[in-house]
């Protein structure tokens, strides 16, 4: 599992790349792996305000929907508008072409709460027991079929 140096990481598995006052935000390789095949991405509009620790969008796999939380607060200045068309980019390149939004930060102190690559790697290790868990709401069962007769 990859955790590039130079990025900051949140406990909710978002990453942040800071370029001056702009924070580029995406979800981590761990996050996309937990989700599985990403089939839909919901992003905010340019100009919207995002609030630190509040959801700014959602990432959906075939099985489940997950909110994506803003690791920093500010104003959205750019969104990755290729994602709605090719959401699988988040699986293929979570730290590159799979970036989600760029935010002009209101308070750079927000970054203080985030983890370094090393801290995040350690955090993931601690979570490993829960690693195989997924927000799998579904009661399943499964069997049967109707088919033939009577239909």
């Amino acid at each position: 599992m990859e955790f590039p140096e130079g990025l900051k990481y949140s406990k909710e598995h978002e990453w942040v790349l800071v370029e001056d006052k702009i924070a580029i935000i995406g979800i981590t390789e761990f996050a996309q792996h937990e989700l599985g095949d990403v089939v839909y991405v919901e992003l905010p509009e340019i100009g919207e305000k995002v609030v630190k620790d509040d959801p700014f969008g959602a990432v959906e796999s075939v099985k489940a929907v997950s909110d994506v939380f803003a690791p920093v607060g500010g104003t959205v200045v750019e969104v990755n508008d290729t994602l709605p068309e090719s959401p699988e980019t988040i699986n293929d390149d979570p730290y590159g072409d799979g970036w989600m939004i760029k935010v002009e930060m209101t308070d750079k102190d927000d970054l203080k709460d985030l983890m370094s690559a090393e801290e995040y790697a350690e955090y993931i290790e601690q979570q490993k027991e829960g690693d195989e868990e997924e927000e799998d709401d579904d009661e399943d069962n499964g069997e049967d079929e109707d088919e033939d007769e009577d239909k």
């Binding site: 937990e34 997924e134 927000e135 009577d150």
Partner: protein
């Protein structure tokens, strides 16, 4: 992203170590530790549609009813007509409560007049066993034999080719919903041409200690045909495309088969059965809500419990939804008011505080081409 949930103690099928060896992502499902995917839900889904997939469905329960009149007892307990079955034929059926609500959907295998084998949902095994035992008291012997069996589902257009390499009865002659007992790769099994994916395929039951070997011989026999292990994730997207109901979503104790579009299972003409009177009344009066198919026309995926609106009125709620890997569209099943259920009509689904347009479409979303 939301943090993963806390792990808990789970039941394991006899193939648990096989799944872990294959690197499956394991999740809790109905109290079981089950593989949700091995290499990816979409890949496994497409493998089943195009070639074949192998599922461990040993979490599903088995209840056996024995004693003189076992079949007759099941005939009074269920709405489908067991008297229509030919020898070696199984049947999709239901357990209904006194209100006509659904205790479970089941597959019933009358093995002999005095022995009925019933496959039930994992989440309902205890409830079903109690229900059958309560009604069979003094008439038949009811046993929960779930722990005794491994159940594998070999599904997909190449399933017959693969299984034929391991067993001698001519599978081409085995019609849908028929079964036989035979050795599969030397392992005594019950082989049924049934499944939950919308594809041709087989469900194979064997004694639990033979389960791992059965998995291995099937995987080996299927290697040249591209057989892939498939998890619960693909199982769910496959059954949803084929609009097969999932207990806890499309069916529950408050849902009747007439609302769920399972009218064809209910044979009023067969005479008395548990739950008949309230269902007959509902049939005469007409259902107030119906299960429909939705195709999203706006971006977004409708998920279980999302509200459905017709104009400003709340019409109902989504029961299951996903992006269909086969069709490439967001699809869902939903209960809506009967007056809103006409195919072609437009409705809206509330997705995270936003209304998204959807169209009511006929079910199923996907139907395989019959050879």
């Amino acid at each position: 992203m939301n943090a993963p949930a806390t792990p808990q103690v789970r039941k394991k099928t006899p193939l648990n170590s096989v799944h872990r060896r294959l690197g499956a992502k394991m999740v809790e499902f109905a109290g079981w530790d089950m593989p949700v995917q091995y290499r990816g839900v979409i890949e496994e889904h497409l493998a089943v549609r195009g070639r074949a997939g192998l599922f461990d469905v040993s979490h599903m329960g088995e209840v056996e009813v024995r004693g003189a009149g076992a079949v007759d007892f099941c005939q009074t307990l269920t709405p489908n007509d067991l008297s229509r079955l030919k020898p070696g034929q199984a049947q999709y059926n239901l357990l209904l409560n006194d209100n006509g609500g659904t205790v479970d959907d089941i597959v019933i295998y009358p093995l002999k007049a005095d022995h009925v084998f019933i496959c039930v949902n994992a989440s309902n095994t205890d409830k079903d066993f109690d229900w059958i035992e309560k009604h069979g008291a003094g008439k038949v012997k009811v046993e929960d034999t779930s722990a005794r069996y491994v159940q594998l589902a070999l599904q997909g257009p190449l399933a017959e080719n693969i299984l034929q390499r391991l067993t001698s009865p001519r599978l081409a002659e085995l019609k849908t919903f028929y079964f036989f007992f035979a050795a599969v790769g030397g392992i005594e099994s019950l082989v049924a041409r049934t499944g939950y994916t919308g594809e041709d395929g087989f469900e194979i039951f064997c004694e639990a200690p033979d389960g791992e070997k059965l998995w291995d011989v099937l995987m080996q026999a299927g290697s040249e045909d591209g057989l892939q292990p498939a998890g619960l994730g693909a199982r769910d997207t496959l059954r949803l495309e084929r609009a097969l109901p999932l207990y806890g979503h499309e069916l529950d104790d408050s849902t009747t088969p007439l609302e769920a579009g399972l009218d064809w299972v209910v044979k009023f003409s067969k005479g008395s059965f548990l739950g008949r009177d309230p269902l007959l009344k509902q049939k005469e009066e007409g259902v107030r809500r119906k299960l429909v198919g939705l195709e999203m026309t706006d971006p977004g995926i409708a998920r279980s419990h999302y509200p459905v609106f017709k104009g400003s009125a709340r019409s109902g709620e989504v029961t299951s939804g996903t992006k269909s890997p086969t069709l490439g569209k967001a699809i869902a099943m939903a209960y809506v008011r009967a007056e809103d259920a006409a195919a072609g009509d437009s409705v809206e689904v509330e997705i995270r505080e936003r209304r998204a347009a959807a169209r009511i479409v006929p079910l199923p979303f996907y139907r395989r081409q019959v050879k």
